[in-house]
């Protein structure tokens, strides 16, 4: 093998390898999409964050406007303090509503921001007061069952209290 052609082949080999790694980083990985510019941090308190994780997206109107930085437990108020890093380009009113949503039925959880109407905007270190917790499926199911049960009980009570004759009178 001539040395110059050998060099050429090794060069091609390395170039393909670098191109593949570059492709992995840009096209497959999140190196491009996770880049958000300078950020400011706001906090929000939730009674229950569900399975929200650090680095989860913060979305407003479906657009990613920031990322969840940290989630810590506040042992005085027994609530979770979530720190959100929001993109400096976007300003939100001080009465913005923070919800924890789930992407799809089984997807990951993210923080959704719904802008309020106040003139004053959130600054670095501010706290979002209006929050809504993550929906816990078990809670919802038990609530639903409880409602059904109490409904059925109420119906039974009405029937027991009013004999057939009385009911007919009412109908007349």
């Amino acid at each position: 093998m001539d040395r110059t052609t050998l060099d050429l082949w090794v060069g091609i080999f390395v170039a393909i390898g670098v191109a593949a790694l570059f492709g992995l980083a840009m096209k497959v990985g999140n190196l491009t999409s996770s880049k958000i510019g300078p950020t400011y941090a706001v906090t929000a308190a939730f009674d229950n964050v569900g399975s929200l994780k650090p680095n989860a997206p913060v979305k407003s109107a479906g657009v990613v406007v920031g990322r969840v930085d940290t989630i810590v437990f506040n042992s005085e108020a027994y609530e979770a303090i979530v720190t959100l890093n929001l993109d400096k380009r976007y300003a939100f009113p001080i009465d913005t509503f923070a919800n924890i949503y789930t992407a799809g039925l089984l997807g990951e959880q993210y923080v959704g921001l719904e802008a309020g109407g106040d003139e004053v905007v959130l600054k670095n270190g501010d706290k979002i007061d209006k929050t809504q917790d993550a929906i816990v499926l078990e809670k919802m199911i038990s609530q639903f069952l409880f409602n059904k049960a109490s409904e059925a009980e109420a119906k039974a009570d009405v029937k027991a209290a009013a004999p057939a004759g009385v009911e007919l009178d009412v109908l007349k």
Partner: protein, 268 residues
């Protein structure tokens, strides 16, 4: 009488076991020494880089074809199997994530290492074993040329450099193969395929860890191949046995090490 012969065979077994254990421990120590020497004498393989370049050609460039073809088929079959299961849950768009994560995290580095052990590792072992059999290594020593600096170190660095490059190519080609099956053939949405992949594949947690794995596998596979060649008995049978052992030991080590590395990476 019966009892004593049973006892004897038991003792013989025990002795054989002990012998094998000592033999393996000795080989482990000798391998570690060779690794250390290869690192110490690796100055020359960078000073005279054409030596390493030549080995990169033989281990890396010559492995390209088998890597690209198998990556393509692995990606295609992953997409096919993944689609089959995912569409039952109505989330066939997640097929891109499945293919990419499986390739970047596991299959890329591991299958590349297994193919590398079979394609390049055996060649290294046979070459060095034959060099030893034909006393070329002793001849080098007679001419005051250090065979470790001249033969072992360039091959070692060539393997370490080639493996991550090959693994990256494997992952990328595999993803393209998966794309080919998922999008034009099955009809998964093109945008969803890539955007779901980008949303769920993390650069540092997935891609960089995959590259780290492949570097470790590169060190291990090349070192095993070099040591088996260096340690081969100088006979035709010895070289052939050493070549077989290279494939077996490399494959087992790669698979076992993969588990250890993954458990470390998931914890950190």
């Amino acid at each position: 009488m019966m009892k004593s012969s049973l006892m004897l065979s038991f003792i013989r077994h025990l002795r054989g076991m002990g012998h094998r254990m000592i033999e393996r421990t000795w080989r482990l120590g000798a391998g570690a020494r060779l690794f250390f020497l290869a690192i110490v004498y690796s100055g020359e393989s960078f000073k005279r880089f054409h030596l390493t370049l030549r080995e990169i050609y033989f281990t890396g460039v010559m492995s390209l074809l088998i890597i690209i073809v198998s990556a393509f088929f692995v990606g295609m079959v992953l997409a096919l199997q993944g689609y089959n299961t995912l569409q039952k849950y109505g989330s066939s768009e997640a097929i891109g994530v499945l293919v990419a994560l499986a390739l970047v995290r596991e299959l890329g580095p591991v299958v590349t290492a297994l193919l590398f052990a079979g394609r390049a590792g055996t060649a290294i072992t046979a070459e060095i074993g034959l060099m030893k059999t034909t006393e070329q290594l002793s001849a080098m020593e007679m001419m005051a040329v250090n065979p470790i600096a001249r033969v072992i170190a360039p091959r070692f660095w060539a393997g370490v450099i080639s493996m991550p490059i090959l693994a990256s190519i494997f992952s990328m080609v595999g993803i393209l193969g998966g794309y080919l099956v998922a999008v034009p053939l099955i009809g998964v949405d093109d945008g969803a395929f890539w955007s779901q992949m980008q949303a769920n594949v993390d650069f540092s947690a997935d891609i960089v860890n995959g590259v780290i794995k492949s570097v470790v596998f590169g060190v291990v596979c090349t070192m095993i191949a070099l040591f088996e060649g260096f340690d081969a008995p100088p006979t035709a049978e010895g070289v052939s046995r050493a070549t077989t052992r290279t494939v077996v030991i490399s494959s087992l080590t790669v698979l076992g090490l993969d588990f250890i590395l993954t458990s470390f990476m998931l914890v950190i």
